[in-house]
C-alpha cells in the first residue's frame, strides 16, 4: 500500500474536522483500503466489513475534531476507530463474558532481561519486543489484536482456564509495554 505521510494525514483530518468534504474524500481514498482490510480481518465477513467501513467513516466524519495530532499518530488513530467498531460488533450478541476479575489479583513477576531492550525508532521495534515474550503469549496477543479472538476463544484454543490465560496475557502486555518504552 502506498504510505501516506503522517503530516499529510494529520492535515486531512484537520480539514475534515472543519467539515471539508473534499478532504474527507481524499482521506477516504487514502485510508479506506487499510481500514476495510482491518474490518474484514476482524469480522471475517465481507458484507459485515462493508457495513463496518461505512460506520467507521461516519464516526471519522463526526469525530475528526477529537484527533490530537500532537498525541497520536493519525493512522494509529484511524486504525483504532476501525478496530473499536469491529470489536464492538464482534462482541455484541455473544455470551456474556465470565467474571475474569480474579485474574488481576495475581502479582506480576519482576522485570526480566527484556527490560534491557535496545532503543530503536523503527516501527518493527514491536517485532523485537514480541520476540522477547514467551512465544505463545506473543501469538495470543497477535490473535486477539489482529484476528479479533476473545479471551474465551483463546482459552479454548490453548486449553487453558480463562483466568490463567488472562493472567499471562496481562503479563505479556506489561512486558511488551516496558520493552517498547522502558520505565526509568
Amino acid at each position: 500500500m502506498p504510505e501516506i505521510p503522517a503530516d499529510e494525514l494529520s492535515h486531512l483530518l484537520a480539514r475534515v474536522a472543519l467539515r471539508d468534504r473534499a478532504a474527507f474524500r481524499a482521506l477516504y481514498d487514502a485510508t479506506a483500503p487499510k481500514l476495510f482490510a482491518i474490518c474484514l480481518r476482524l469480522l471475517r465477513d465481507r458484507r459485515e466489513a462493508e457495513d463496518a467501513l461505512q460506520e467507521v467513516f461516519v464516526k471519522v466524519w463526526h469525530r475528526a475534531d477529537r484527533f490530537a495530532s500532537g498525541v497520536s499518530h493519525p493512522s494509529a488513530w484511524l486504525n483504532a476507530v476501525a478496530r473499536n467498531h469491529a470489536i464492538d460488533r464482534l462482541r455484541q450478541g455473544r455470551a456474556p463474558s465470565a467474571d475474569l476479575g480474579a485474574a488481576r489479583e495475581i502479582p506480576d513477576p519482576a522485570p526480566g532481561p527484556e527490560a534491557l531492550a535496545i532503543n530503536s525508532d523503527d516501527g518493527r521495534r514491536i517485532d523485537d519486543c514480541m520476540g522477547r515474550l514467551v512465544p505463545q503469549r506473543a501469538e495470543a496477543i497477535r490473535l486477539a489484536y489482529v484476528e479479533g479472538e476473545s479471551y474465551i476463544e483463546l482459552s479454548q484454543r490453548y486449553e487453558i482456564p480463562l483466568n490463567t490465560l488472562r493472567t499471562w496475557l496481562r503479563r505479556g502486555l506489561l512486558q511488551l509495554r516496558d520493552c517498547l518504552a522502558p520505565r526509568r
Partner: protein, 223 residues
C-alpha cells in the same frame, strides 16, 4: 500526567487488544469517558500495538462505498425531492408509442391539454428515458429503459427552464414507468424546457446540485 498503575495499564491494554467480553468492554468504555488518565493510557496502547497491523495488507474497499457514505452523510432529506409513483407498465417503449403506452389504462375524463414529449437517449444508447408531460393536469410520466445505474448510483432527472438553473425532478426508477405531479411553481417553466439525466450517488445528488456526468439531454417538444 498522573502515573497509572500497572493494573490499570494492563486493563487498558486488554481493552485495546479487544479480548474482553461485551460487559467488561462497556465498563471500560465508561471509564474512558470519565477518567482522562485512563483514556490517555488507552490511546498509548493504541499507538503501541498499532504496528502489529502492518501485517494486514490493504484491500480494495467495496465499489460504491464512497457514494453510499456520501449519500448517508450529505444527502438532503428525501421529502425535498419530488416522488415518482410506480405505474407498473412495461419498460423500453419506443417514442412512437410513448403517448399511447403511458396513457394506457387511464380513463379519459376530459380532453387532455397540451402534451409535451421528450426522448432522452445517451450517446451510446445505454440509457433511455421517454417523458410525457400533460400541461393541463401538471402530470409527467416517464418510461425508463436501457441499463440500470451501477450499484450505489441512481439516475436523476432534471428540468432546465430557458435561462434557468437545473431543478431536480427526482431519482428515476431503474426500469419501468412512473408518474409524478409537477410542483405548481415549476409548471409554467415546463413549456420549452430541457430535460437532462445525470448519474448521481444513490438517493440523488447531495445538496440538490447535480454532481455526476450528464448522460442525456433533450428538449420537451409539444405534440
Amino acid at each position: 500526567m498522573t502515573p497509572i498503575s500497572d493494573d490499570d495499564s494492563a486493563l487498558a491494554g486488554e481493552y485495546v487488544l479487544g479480548a474482553l467480553g461485551a460487559d467488561e468492554r462497556r465498563a471500560v468504555q465508561r471509564r474512558i469517558a470519565s477518567d482522562a488518565a485512563f483514556a490517555a493510557e488507552v490511546a498509548d496502547w493504541e499507538s503501541r500495538l498499532d504496528p502489529l497491523l502492518d501485517d494486514v495488507p490493504a484491500q480494495a474497499p467495496p465499489a460504491g462505498g464512497w457514494a453510499a457514505l456520501e449519500t448517508r452523510l450529505f444527502a438532503p432529506p428525501r421529502a425535498a425531492r419530488p416522488r415518482w409513483a410506480w405505474l407498473g407498465l412495461a419498460s423500453g417503449v419506443s417514442t412512437a408509442l410513448l403517448a399511447a403506452v403511458l396513457w394506457l389504462g387511464e380513463p379519459v375524463q376530459r380532453a387532455p391539454g397540451p402534451l409535451w414529449v421528450s426522448d432522452l437517449v445517451s450517446p451510446d444508447g445505454a440509457v433511455r428515458l421517454a417523458a410525457l408531460y400533460d400541461a393541463a393536469r401538471g402530470e409527467m410520466r416517464v418510461s425508463v429503459g436501457g441499463d440500470a445505474p451501477p450499484p450505489g448510483r441512481d439516475f436523476e432527472l432534471w428540468m432546465i427552464a430557458q435561462g434557468g438553473a437545473p431543478v431536480s425532478l427526482g431519482v428515476m426508477p431503474h426500469s419501468g414507468a412512473a408518474a409524478m405531479t409537477i410542483p405548481e411553481d415549476l409548471r409554467d417553466a415546463m413549456a420549452g424546457a430541457t430535460l437532462a439525466i445525470t448519474d448521481e450517488p444513490a438517493g440523488g445528488a447531495p445538496g440538490g446540485q447535480a454532481t455526476g456526468p450528464v448522460l442525456a439531454t433533450a428538449p420537451l417538444r409539444r405534440i
